[in-house]
Amino acid sequence: MRYSIFSLLREALSGHRGWGPAWRDAAPKPEYDVIIVGGGGHGLATAHYLAKVHGITRVAVLEKGWIGSGNVGRNTTIIRSNYLLPGNNPFYELSMKLWEGLEQDLNYNAMVSQRGVLNLYHSDGQRDAYARRGNAMRMHGVDAELLDREAVRRMLPFLDFDGARFPIQGGLLQRRGGTVRHDAVAWGYARAASGRGVDIIQNCEVTGFQRDGDRIIGVETTRGAIRAKKVGLAVAGNSSTVARLAGLRLPIESHVLQAFVSEAIKPFIPGVITFGAGHFYISQSDKGGLVFGGDIDGYNSYAQRGNLPTVEDVCEGGMALMPALGRIRMLRSWGGIMDMSMDGSPIIDHTPLPGLYLNSGWCYGGFKATPASGWCFAHLLARDEPHATARAFRLDRFATGYLLDEKGSGAQPNLH
């Protein structure tokens, strides 16, 4: 059913008994053209664009649990394209443009809200770095505004501007940044892909790969063997574990990132704010809860939960930025597992094994990339060549030296 004001009115008048499931819970067939392992945002987006842009509809998305049970439902919902490096910036801007048209494309309300992302600076050196970043963004056609202290004060009078150590001197604002309802992204892509014939198969864990020499020709799963011409991995958080089944070692460590939400309050924070003197970012959901987070815990983990020192560190950052936070009670915290790559940037590429393709290494920036990741991975799977904006995300860049180290911290994943 197409969602519209008319379908809503029709259902309102008939007691809302006609709404069907948004997508089809499929059983595996013996063979597909493309299998995508991982029913998260990136995998479902890949399936949607394979079907819609490339006309490939014999596609299965295999999900170990239920769709959207991983990081697409665990992030802090922020979208932005304020990257510095030439290899990154056009990719994230492609993502932003896809976000801007997402709801019309999917016929699904994902609550895309361009409420602005403001990165605060607290020193002259940091202002210069943000001016450079803003200029790099504008040279790529991305919106960026450097605000001074008074402009920030007019927007966000409740911040602590005069802290002795980290006085706020201004901020770099991307007005087109904002937030998106993350679960709706998974459901919307699932519905759109399913509507074009893609099979979404849940409770189907990949346990091995079928090979013909080096070539990957299918997967073994908990629901039986499935053959495919091409297999794409979109299992960030568990990329190393799944790739190991094919005998591959990746430039990735898995780390836990925690996120937090407060009790719901009346509208307080208009956009997304990031603290420049520590790692802390915050926004307010449409339900009223303050959604915030900070650094990864910093050690390898597959536990999907973190430790208390990081909770304390994040809350200290929040209190330094906006002391009013101390009056609000924290409601929940949770953890997600990040593919921390060795240069802090993702991988969308062939693997050394023909027939096996890799989408991984999203660190803690995967959500904003969801549409472009799906778009570029679908392009790679359909045409066997990288998409123009994702050419820098090569798996072999660690050997060739063409690293994309946005932060400049080297091969130490817990510092990215």
């Binding site: 190393s240 460590e253 060795m342 660690f398 091969a411």
Partner: protein, 89 residues
């Protein structure tokens, strides 16, 4: 998470800093395949889902490097010993 330092006893996570996988061995730079081996040593990781041998530095304690074996699915620590076997002898 608390780490049982062999010198200081069980101490809080905040006293330690993390380096990563303890399996790093510096390759022989004079070998003919040195470039490939350095790429593997610097960039590739096993990243196992289970027991993981890793290096921690007890920065706010005895300032020794520890080799900790930890189940990274649960954060349960199986053992912690001096990274340099000569320490403590």
């Amino acid at each position: 998470m608390r780490i049982p330092c062999p010198f200081c006893g069980e101490r809080d996570l905040t006293e330690f800093s993390y380096l990563g996988d303890a399996g790093y061995v510096r390759p022989d730079a004079s070998g003919s395949d040195a470039a490939g081996r350095f790429v593997e040593a610097v960039y590739l990781r096993d990243n196992p889902s289970g027991l993981h041998a890793e290096l921690w530095y007890h920065a706010s304690g005895c300032r020794t490097w520890l080799r900790v074996t930890r189940d990274i699915r649960t954060h349960e620590i199986a053992s912690a010993e001096y990274a340099n076997p000569a320490v403590g002898k």
